[in-house]
Structure formats: C-alpha cells, structure tokens
C-alpha cells in the first residue's frame, strides 16, 4: 500500500557506541523516515548530532544548515538557526531516570545526486534539568550529492543505549 513504512535498517544500542549509522538509503523510495527511541547518552547533558553519509561514511564537512524551535516546559520557547555547521543537532539529553530522547526524522532527496539533502526533525525528551523539551525544525546539507546513510552521535561521549530504525515510505 502506498505510504506504508518498509523497514530498511535497525540498530539497537545495548553496549555504548560513539556513533550509530543507518544504511540502505537509495532511490527505491523517495522519502525515508528515521525513528529513534529511548536514546540515552553516556554523559549527562549532551545534544544528539546528525550527519548524512556517503558510502556509509558520515560527511563531516561544514555544510549543515538548520532552523528550529525548542519548546520547553520551564521557560519560554526559543527560535534557533545555524549555518555551515559540521552536523545537525537536537535537544540536550540527560542520563537520569526517564530522561531518554525520542525523535522522528524524514529524509528527502538523499539519493538524488543533483539536489541537496533535506530533513525535517521532531524530538521530545525529558531533559537533564529535568523538564520536558520538544523540538521541531528542518535542516539542509548544502551539497548536491547522493547520500546513502544517516548517522548519529552525541556532542560529546557515547550513546549508551537506544533504538534507531530506518524506514522507506512506499511509493
């Protein structure tokens, strides 16, 4: 059925790793979706970082732009924009009980070598403060290239645990 989710890759982190890469993005589907749940960093107060990949290797160039809004339950909402970063970012995750992070990313144009790769990103977490933090925004990698993977790491330290799943949206 059109619009169905087809699982492409799944990585379940049970032993700490510095990065997780989801592979298998190609022209089979126009849009891919990443669902990552219960992400816990090894070090407290770390934001997740996201990169596109080529040949399974994350691109660490300074071509990541994004704009997003962070909604926090303990303060006013904040608008952010960043250009020419070395990765996209998310909200800060904590290590305490119940502080896991959860996110959904839609990936557009990843396999199109003539277009930039785009994402839309939604996140929710109970942060290290602790309080509820939610995130919504979008990003672009301003390089016209085909990307076959997407990877995740923390701003500093390891990912202690979490489940990362890549789906294709059936045409």
């Amino acid at each position: 059925m059109s619009g169905s989710l087809i699982k492409i890759d799944e990585e379940i982190v049970t032993s700490a790793v510095a990065s997780v890469t989801l592979t298998g993005i190609d022209s089979t589907y126009d849009v891919y979706q990443v669902v990552a749940s219960n992400i816990v960093p090894a070090s407290d107060s770390q934001a997740i970082r996201i990169r596109v990949g080529t040949g399974g290797t994350p691109d660490s160039d300074s071509e990541y732009d994004m704009a997003y809004k962070v909604f926090e339950s303990n303060t006013s909402f904040a608008n952010h924009s960043e250009v020419n970063q070395t990765s996209w970012r998310g909200v800060t995750y904590g290590t305490g009980t119940g502080e896991a992070g959860n996110l959904i990313i839609y990936c557009f144009n990843f396999s199109n070598a003539s277009e930039y790769s785009f994402i839309t990103q939604e996140e929710v977490t109970y942060t290290n403060s602790p309080h509820l933090a939610s995130f919504t925004g979008g990003g672009v990698h301003t390089v016209a290239e085909a990307n076959d993977s997407i990877s995740f790491h923390m701003a500093s330290g390891n990912i202690a645990s979490g489940r990362f799943v890549l789906y294709g949206l059936k045409k």
Binding site: T23, R49, S60
Partner: protein, 106 residues
C-alpha cells in the same frame, strides 16, 4: 579562555588515551548491526568534533544556562507588575542574578 587550537590539542590527548591500543576503553561505531572500534579517520574526526563542541560550550554555554535559569515570561511579568505596585526590584534582581551566575566569557 582557550583557543580552538588549544582545545584541539587537549581533545587529541583525551581521544588518544581512549584508544584501546593505548589501554583505553575505545570508541565504537555501530553499523549494520556490527559494533566495531573507530578507524583512525573516525578517531581523527572525533578529535575535531570534541574540540568544536568544547569550544562552542565555552563560547555559548552561558546562553543555554541563562535560558534555563530565567523564570518564565509569565513569572517575569508577574514580578514586573508587583515591582510597579510595591516599588521593588524583584525582576531586575532576578535578571541580574541569572547573568551573574552564568557570566558571558571575557
């Protein structure tokens, strides 16, 4: 205030110490359900990432800290209302305290 170059040197030393070849716990990547130690290129990138992250925290960490420490807009408006009624300085004191507690790097 450390420069990015100085933080890179520090990050290099810390990442080198983490490598299993140097007796550390190692940094690992999980790809295709295989957990493997970082390649040298990935370790090099980790040094750059850590230095950039530390530099950003040094330069901009106070902004996040202040944002989290400020009272909500509703609470601040309430402070300003009662300051007007009672001729107090609760709101200005609150802002000054947050700024003092989370100073901007010189």
């Amino acid at each position: 205030m450390a420069t990015l170059e100085e933080l890179t040197v520090t990050a290099q030393a810390e990442i080198d110490a983490i490598k299993t070849a140097n007796g550390g716990d190692g940094m690992f990547a999980q790809v295709n359900n295989v957990r493997r130690e970082f390649t040298e290129a990935e370790y090099d990138q980790a040094v750059i990432d850590k230095a950039n992250s530390d530099f950003d925290q040094q330069e901009n960490g106070y902004k996040t800290a202040r944002q989290e420490a400020y009272g909500s807009i509703q609470d601040q408006l309430d402070m300003q209302y009662w300051d007007g009624v009672n001729s107090t300085t609760t709101w200005a004191d609150h802002i000054a305290q947050v700024k003092a507690d989370n100073p901007k790097p010189e």
